[in-house]
């Protein structure tokens, strides 16, 4: 078989291209659109130009039947049709659904701009914590006389049920001692659950008892630091209860159809009214004041079922009743709860809100009273800490009052606070609760008031913190801004405790960034550094420092200004814990990538950014997760892409050198750098219009050298291979022949290192297909690479084929032979007089050898060897029954190559082709359609001039009959 003689078919690429081009058919763009009803379009192909197409012209026409897409376009589309139907649909929705919607709607009645309780909740729970041991004391049914039973007009049934309950839980006084805060919260949640369960299992009395016992817990002020959190937990239960009762009565009236949203008392049936009344009588007979108040407040909304003015009458009464609570803290929170319920149920009733606040002011003197002071001494709580316990309650009350309140009311409130000797606690709440615009407009007044406050009770930095928070949202008059900042900062800077200081400074940063220039920001940064450096105080304040950075980044997007601030980088140096440091760098980088639109060469930016990127890069270690690495690399790449020195290419290259040294651990960054440098070389070539001067030639060689020494440091074999190839192509395009040679040689030499399997997205996959792709790509490049004068003919092709031969391919794989098959077209292309493509200013082999017969015979010899190898392999395959399919496919592909590239006028080749055809059809694995089309193609080819010999061949190719 080695006797096969290879002759490449002569090709004239130009004429072939001409033949293949379809006739340009003009398309009227005016009314053509792919989504319009299908139009009649005609495409004419020149007869016989395309492989195997039988019809000389194909036309498709249709008269645009009811197209589903276009029919949608006129008239209403289905979505808006649904939308218009929606209201009618919702009428038929289930009651439960309605109930939920109803609640949502009512919340809306307050308006979106009202910060709901739910958002305060978490904050309070997180803020008021304790490590002391807590206790829960529940008397379930043990105090018969005090239970609600005697006062209520309950039916026989309920009474017996009540007795059962008493039996069940007689004396079940549970005292849970030594609870940690978490245990406490869990217990309360358990109670919440058992409340729901009791309700669901129709044990209404038990449910009521749970609620009463829980609200009783609120009169216990031991472990006072935890009181606000306790309030939050327990009022959750009360809310649940209120909702359960309301929904129950609601459903009682929902028969036969649900109550309308704005139902009146007349819509409520007698049974529902009676049930509702029962609840109120029951609650009215609760012995203790606090549970009575809380539970009645919880079901305040149910008054709607009884009479029109119920809520209106009850709110002031409850407000007045709160005066009976002796402990000022307990009273303040009860007021907060009442306001909360009031806002939810009847936001229009502002009077009782105000009433609550005035009562609160009235009882303020109690705080300094003996009972409270004794309690504080007993619990070892300082006055300032005690006062902060009030703030959630007072804040909430004021927030309710301030919501959409007219300006005069707010002014009046302020005056009242002033009258109370500028009570710091109140002032603080006023600033937090009132509209920021209101506070901002009077910022100077407020500063005056803060100054007048007595220092003893409430720390001033908290006051300035609150003021700062308002000013961060609303702008004070322009003329006052600087004075405000100066006044505020005078106090802030004097705060001794670093933690208090940074909390306050962080808030004021926003105001400063909004209204002032880098000078002021810089001053504040300097001040922060001064305060936080001693004793490494910054270690405890990372969140606040981070927030300072975030605020600066929100307002300062000009990085040249940012980095020009003297204190910015020293400020960054305070982040000494690695994880935080990296996070900060990351956030800076993110802002940079988002906001830096123009390429930059500003040395200040570059230095600072390099520093930041280096910090990120240096945080990478063996334990860093892949994802983390990837995202860091992306950020750094983002930075590298923004760097441009314009026409100063050398500077750019040296930047890349520096970057390579800095970011050596992140492969994606290195890959990006190589791409950047390659791009740089091509850019140079573009600027020089393809012909390099001596200087630019040296520069592009330097670029090539950069790539050449960078690529080996990559660990991923395929990035290395493709970069070698790419860089080789770039070098060729820049006429750096020896560099190109070196790249390609390097690529060939690392081929044996390619592992048989690689991991792709975490899965192990065979590398064969990747490798084949690469080799084919590589072969295509080899066409234009001129032979090295010192090495033999086709040095690189031979080298590659040798490597392919020596590579340990997978067992039972035809990959090697497939490479051989695809090398044949290359060899054929090389033997043409004019090559299919070439690189400007580079002489390919066509010019070097000028069609030298010796060169051609070398090619032919090589081809023959390859064919010999392929045929050997085919034979091996023939021995095994199972591999006949592979044999057929391989034979057919070789046949295809012979047909396309071989000169079949040569009898031997033609005979070989026919043999291969027969071999591929021997076992019947060949797809008949492909065979038929191939035959047709050959017949077309035969019509060409000097291809008539194919007519003989085609007659000898027998189609396999379908059996």
């Amino acid at each position: 078989m080695a006797a096969v003689q290879w002759r490449s078919r002569g090709r004239n690429y130009d004429t072939e291209l001409q033949r293949c081009r379809p006739e340009a058919a003009p398309v009227e763009f005016g009314d053509y659109h792919p989504l319009k009803p299908i139009m009649v379009t005609d495409t004419k192909t020149r007869r016989g130009a395309r492989k195997g197409s039988t019809s000389s012209s194909s036309s498709s026409s249709s008269s645009a039947p009811a197209d589903p897409l276009s029919s949608m376009l006129d008239g209403t589309d289905p979505l808006s049709m649904f939308a218009s139907e929606a209201p009618t649909i919702s009428h038929s929705a289930s009651t439960g659904d309605l109930g939920r919607k109803r609640r949502e709607k009512e919340e809306e009645a307050v308006g979106q701009d009202f910060e709901p309780w739910s958002s305060k909740r978490g904050e309070i729970l997180a803020r008021f914590t304790t490590t002391e041991k807590l206790s829960i004391n529940l008397f379930m049914g043990s105090d018969k006389g005090k239970a609600p039973s005697p006062g209520s007009a309950v039916s026989e049934k309920v009474r017996t049920r009540l007795e059962e309950l008493d039996d069940l839980e007689e004396g079940s006084q549970r005292e849970l001692l030594n609870l940690s805060q978490q245990d406490y919260a869990n217990r309360i949640e358990e109670l919440n659950q058992s409340l729901k369960e009791a309700w669901a299992s129709d044990q209404k009395v038990k449910a009521l008892k749970i609620v009463i016992q829980c609200s009783k817990l609120l009169s216990d002020t031991s472990v006072i630091q935890f009181y606000p959190s306790k309030f939050v937990l327990i009022t959750d239960i009360l809310d649940t209860f209120g909702r359960l009762v309301y929904d129950r009565i609601w459903t009682m009236c929902s028969d036969p159809r649900p109550l309308p949203e704005s139902f009146t008392v007349d819509d409520v049936n007698d049974t529902a009214k009676e049930t509702c009344l029962n609840w109120f009588f029951k609650i009215a007979s609760i012995r203790e004041l606090l549970p009575r108040l809380y539970v009645e407040a919880a079901i305040l909304k149910c008054n709607r079922f009884l009479n029109k003015s119920g809520i209106q009458e009850t709110l002031p009464r409850l407000t007045a009743m709160i005066r009976g609570i002796g402990d000022p803290l307990v009273a303040a929170y009860t007021r907060a709860y009442l306001c909360r319920v009031g806002m939810e149920v009847a936001p229009q009733l502002k009077d009782s809100l105000n009433r609550n606040f005035f009562d609160l002011l009235g009882t303020f003197r109690q705080i300094s009273g003996e009972s409270v002071q004794n309690q504080l001494v007993q619990q070892r709580v300082e006055v300032p800490e005690y006062l902060t316990l009030y703030s959630p309650a007072i804040n909430w009350i004021l927030q309710c009052i301030a919501y959409r309140a007219p300006e005069p009311l707010l002014t009046e409130m302020m005056e009242r606070c002033k009258k109370l000797g500028n009570n710091a606690l109140l002032l603080n709440s006023v600033m937090r609760a009132f509209r920021p615009e209101f506070v901002a407009a009077r910022a100077t007044d407020f500063i005056g008031m803060i100054k007048d406050c007595d220092e003893a009770g409430f720390p001033k930095h908290l006051l300035f913190g609150s003021l700062g928070r308002s000013l961060a949202c609303a702008d004070p008059p322009e003329s006052e801004r600087l004075t405000i900042l100066n006044e505020a900062w005078k106090v802030v800077t004097k705060v001794r405790s670093p933690q208090d200081y940074i909390n306050c400074a962080e808030i004021w940063m926003e105001f400063t960034c909004r209204h002032f220039t880098k000078r002021e920001v810089n001053t504040i940064l300097a001040d922060i550094i001064k305060h936080m450096t001693p004793d490494r105080a910054f270690e405890d304040a990372y969140p606040q420092l981070q927030s300072v950075i975030r605020k600066i980044l929100t307002y300062l997007h000009d990085f040249s200004v940012l980095f020009a601030m003297e204190r910015f980088l020293p400020f960054l140096d305070m982040f000494q814990k690695d994880s935080v440091r990296v996070e900060v760098c990351r956030s800076i980088m993110e802002v940079f990538i988002k906001h830096q639109v123009e390429h930059t060469r500003d040395p200040v930016i570059l230095n600072a950014m390099l520093h930041i990127c280096k910090t990120m890069h240096d945080s990478v270690n063996a334990l860093t997760l892949e994802d983390e690495k990837r995202s860091l690399a992306l950020l750094i790449i983002g930075f590298i892409r923004m760097v441009s020195f314009g026409r100063d290419f050398e500077q750019q290259l040296s930047f890349c050198v520096e970057a390579r040294a800095t970011f050596c651990n992140l492969e994606p960054v290195l890959v990006q750098l190589i791409h950047t440098v390659n791009q740089l070389a091509m850019e140079t070539s573009r600027v020089m219009r393809g012909s390099h001067s001596r200087k630019t030639a040296a520069f592009v060689r330097a670029c090539a050298a950069y790539s050449f020494i960078t690529i080996p440091s990559l660990s991923s074999i395929f990035s290395r291979l493709s970069l070698y190839l790419l860089s080789g192509q770039v070098a060729l395009a820049n006429q750096c022949l020896s560099q190109a040679d070196a790249f390609l040689k390097a690529a060939v030499s690392i081929l044996p290192e390619v592992p048989r399997s690689i991991s792709v997205e975490g899965k192990l996959r065979s590398s064969e297909s990747f490798l084949l792709d690469f080799i084919n790509n590589f072969l295509a490049t080899l066409l234009v690479v001129p032979d090295h004068p010192e090495h033999g003919v086709l040095y690189l092709v031979r080298g590659l084929l040798n490597m392919v031969q020596d590579y340990t391919w997978e067992d039972n794989s035809d990959a090697k032979v497939r490479v051989y098959v695809s090398a044949l077209p290359l060899l054929a292309a090389m033997s043409q007089e004019t090559y299919l493509y070439s690189i400007p200013k580079v002489d390919s082999n066509e010019t070097l050898y000028g069609g030298d017969p010796k060169f051609l015979s070398e090619i032919n010899k090589l081809s023959e060897t390859l064919i010999g190898q392929i045929l050997d392999h085919l034979k091996t395959l023939g021995r095994d029954e199972q591999s006949t399919r592979r044999q057929g496919a391989l034979a057919f592909s070789l046949f295809g190559v012979l047909l396309a590239h071989g000169d079949l006028r040569n009898n031997k080749l033609s005979q070989l082709a026919i043999n291969l055809w027969n071999l591929s059809h021997k076992h019947g694995y060949c797809e008949t359609r492909v065979s038929v089309r191939t035959l047709e193609y050959i017949k077309h080819q035969a019509l060409q001039p000097d291809m008539s010999h194919l007519t003989d061949t085609v007659q000898r190719l027998a189609l396999q009959s379908r059996t």
Binding site: P150, G151, S152, A153, E156, S219, N269, D270, T271, K273, E274, L277, F280, F281, A284, S285, R287, E288, L289, L290, R292, R317, A320, M321, R323, G324, I325, G326, D327, P328, V330, D359, G362, T363, R365, Q366, G369, E370, S371
Partner: protein, 297 residues
């Protein structure tokens, strides 16, 4: 074979007045047809008097006077012996609430020694093998509103150590001054008791201020009587050391069933009082008593 017998009144709140008609249905639910020997319905209003154990010895002589007083009674046969079909059967009924002679329908009242109660009782007689069925249902009678208009007369009070009676050691009493008023002592039963109390000053912190509602029941006749005061409910209106010279509202809803308009008959009396109880931190108990006159308008 399960069968349930129930009485359902038309009014959800079960409240009726003299001269009105008590209407409702007898509800029978059974799975199979039910044989019975007649269903009857009985309406009765009774005053039960009881003597407290401490007075029994002394007033044994009056034993006779303590037997129940019947206010109203009537009986109807709802169905003759026969069969009730399977499923749900509703038999409507009506009773006019009319008294015979000069008897008065007192208002429903559940007390300790005096009980005024109105019931409907339905009986179903059945064959020897099956138990007779019976069902009770209480309904509530409110007496006719009184004609005369109630003019609220506020009652002011001031409590100091000097105003107290019944003190053992006046010297050891701490100083205090508590002022206040009740909006009225002749109260409408359906309206809450209201007023205000102000702690002007107190040497010892206040622990609690409570309203104690007390019933005073008297049973007896010409020869003698037993008078007993017992607590109905105790409502706390202030807890802890309340703010001085700030008025605290007095507010108490009169519980249903356990209160009725003040009642005076030849055989028994039901009266009410309220105590304002102030508990000081050293457990001193200061009580101010106000007799109430309840009425219905």
């Amino acid at each position: 074979m399960s069968v349930t017998l129930d009485i359902r009144l038309k009014r959800a709140n079960k409240v009726y007045h003299e001269g009105e008609v008590v209407a409702g249905v007898i509800l029978l639910v059974c799975k199979e047809a039910l044989q019975h020997h007649g269903i009857s319905l009985n309406m009765e209003g009774l005053v039960n008097l009881q003597l407290s154990s401490k007075s029994v010895g002394v007033f044994e002589a009056f034993y006779n006077s303590v037997k129940p007083i019947q206010l109203i009674s009537s009986n109807v046969e709802v169905a003759k012996a026969g069969k009730v079909p399977a499923g749900k059967t509703e038999i409507p009924f009506e009773f006019p609430l009319n008294t015979k002679g000069n008897k008065v329908l007192y208002e429903t009242y559940h007390g300790v020694f005096v009980n005024i109660q109105y019931t409907l009782r339905c009986d179903m007689k059945r064959s020897l093998l099956a138990k007779d069925l019976s069902r009770n249902c209480e309904f509530i009678v409110h007496c006719q509103p009184q004609k005369a208009k109630v003019v609220p007369t506020p009652v002011n009070f001031t409590i100091t150590p000097d105003t107290l009676q019944n003190t053992r050691e006046r010297t050891s009493l701490p100083k205090f001054l508590i002022r206040g008023h009740l909006d009225a002592t002749n109260c409408v039963i359906s309206q809450p008791l209201t007023g205000e109390v102000v702690v002007e000053n107190s040497d010892v912190p206040i622990k609690s201020i409570e309203l104690q509602l007390v019933r005073v029941e008297t049973c007896g006749c010409a020869e003698g009587y037993a008078r007993d005061a017992t607590e109905i409910q105790n409502i706390q209106i202030a807890e802890g050391d309340v703010c001085h010279s700030l008025s605290i509202p007095i507010y108490m809803v009169f519980p249903r069933l356990f209160t009725c308009p003040t009642l005076e008959t030849t055989n028994f009396k039901v009266e009410f009082e309220v105590n304002i109880v102030i508990v000081l931190h050293d457990d001193h108990l200061i009580t101010e008593n106000f007799p109430l006159k309840l009425c219905r308008v």
